[in-house]
């Protein structure tokens, strides 16, 4: 088994603490738990896009936003299963070195959306080490609520691109019925972006 401490972080409390000023970011959440948590946290603010499929898309989409909007800060929230499906993107991010991209991986070590089946990070795989190995310059792992203030500082004070692996307890994300119509969400986001 991997040398991970058991996490004591409740995922539902994470994002509001990590991002005290969500309005300063363009936010993007990958499918499943991170989408629900972030939709509930911001009440589906118009600076947030949440995905419901296209597993693996989140970090790549965030990178596209970061490159096309270099004056804005982009924060991507993704799960461990989602990230592993397109984990080569960490190398792409490290080659491009966008100085406005923050990635938070909510790592519960399982595929929560499909019934909580164990994932690789519940065994021997360490996504923070993979990000480091890919060449992402700023990498941090947390697994206890005591570490969240330091992680919040990490997300603003370290050189980007940065990667935070937040090991969280197993358990359901925030219950929230969000808008599943991505075409509508895209237009809302684009209008808000143009106006900002």
């Amino acid at each position: 088994m991997a040398d991970f401490p058991d996490s004591t972080i409740d995922r539902k409390t994470l994002f509001p603490q990590l991002f005290p000023h969500p309005e300063n970011y363009l936010l993007l959440a990958g499918l499943a738990g991170t989408a629900k948590d972030s939709a509930a946290w911001t009440q589906e603010a118009d600076n947030l896009i949440t995905l419901g499929g296209a597993m693996g898309a989140a970090v790549s989409m965030g990178l596209g936003m970061a490159l096309a909007a270099p004056d804005r800060q982009i924060a991507v929230m993704t799960g461990d299963g989602e990230l592993l499906m397109n984990v080569g993107v960490l190398a792409t991010v490290a080659s491009v070195m966008p100085d406005n991209l923050t990635i938070v991986c909510v790592d519960n070590g399982q595929h929560g959306e499909t019934g909580g089946q164990p994932g690789h990070t519940s065994r021997r795989t360490d996504l923070a080490k993979m990000a480091e190995g890919a060449g992402v310059p700023s990498v941090m792992t947390i697994s206890s609520p005591d570490e969240i203030p330091a992680a919040t500082k990490f997300l603003t004070d370290t050189p980007a691109p940065r990667f935070l692996c937040a090991r969280v307890m197993p358990g359901a994300p925030t219950a929230y019925k969000r808008n599943w119509d991505l075409a509508e969400c895209r237009l809302i986001f684009k209008r808000a972006f143009s106006a900002s």
Binding site: G53, A57, S60, M61, L67, A91, T92, L182, R186
Partner: protein, 170 residues
């Protein structure tokens, strides 16, 4: 038509249409286009680990008013179908340029399975395919691809065939 010449035609039209991000997985067929995008100060290239990243990258750029393109070999089309859910669900504009292997003149048997599946796979995911087989088709094909994708918001693949740019000899 020499590769540098048709690449220049495509590059000029894309850059002229405001495409700034050229994401790619390297291929003999897109090498000159990538060089041009590297050298021009209006555009930048993004080397991808897998073609699927490019679909999401172009969608992300669109969210903030940018334009990206995805360049890949035909074999890479097999890596993108589920990511194209994003394009259909969100009605994102999408332009990919596929340089073909596994057809007319191909000597490598490994290239045929995916090469022959390119158009059915893309069409099954709602991507319209524009094939270029002759030099005199290129100009209008590129214009059509740009209009359909960035202007009309469709998912489009410009398919540059081996009949058009020649098969690799082994």
């Amino acid at each position: 038509m020499a590769r540098e010449d048709w690449s220049k035609l495509i590059f000029d039209k894309l850059a002229g249409a405001g495409v700034t991000l050229f994401s790619y997985v390297p291929d003999f067929g897109n090498a000159s286009l990538v060089e041009m995008a590297d050298e021009d100060n209006r555009t930048r290239t993004v080397l991808l680990s897998s073609e699927q990243e490019g679909v999401a990258l172009c969608a992300g750029a669109d969210l903030v008013g940018g334009r990206g393109v995805l360049l890949m070999q035909s074999s890479g089309v097999g890596n993108v179908p589920n990511m194209l859910s994003l394009i259909q669900s969100g009605r994102f504009p999408m332009l990919m340029i596929v340089t073909m292997r596994g057809e007319y003149g191909e000597q490598n048997p490994w290239q045929y399975p995916m090469g022959q599946a390119v158009v059915p796979v893309l069409e099954a995911m709602g991507i319209q395919c524009i094939r270029v087989e002759r030099d005199d088709e290129l100009d209008q094909a590129v214009e059509s691809a740009i209009s359909a994708s960035y202007v009309a918001g469709q998912g489009v693949a410009l398919i540059l065939t081996q009949k058009f740019f020649g098969a690799k000899a082994f």
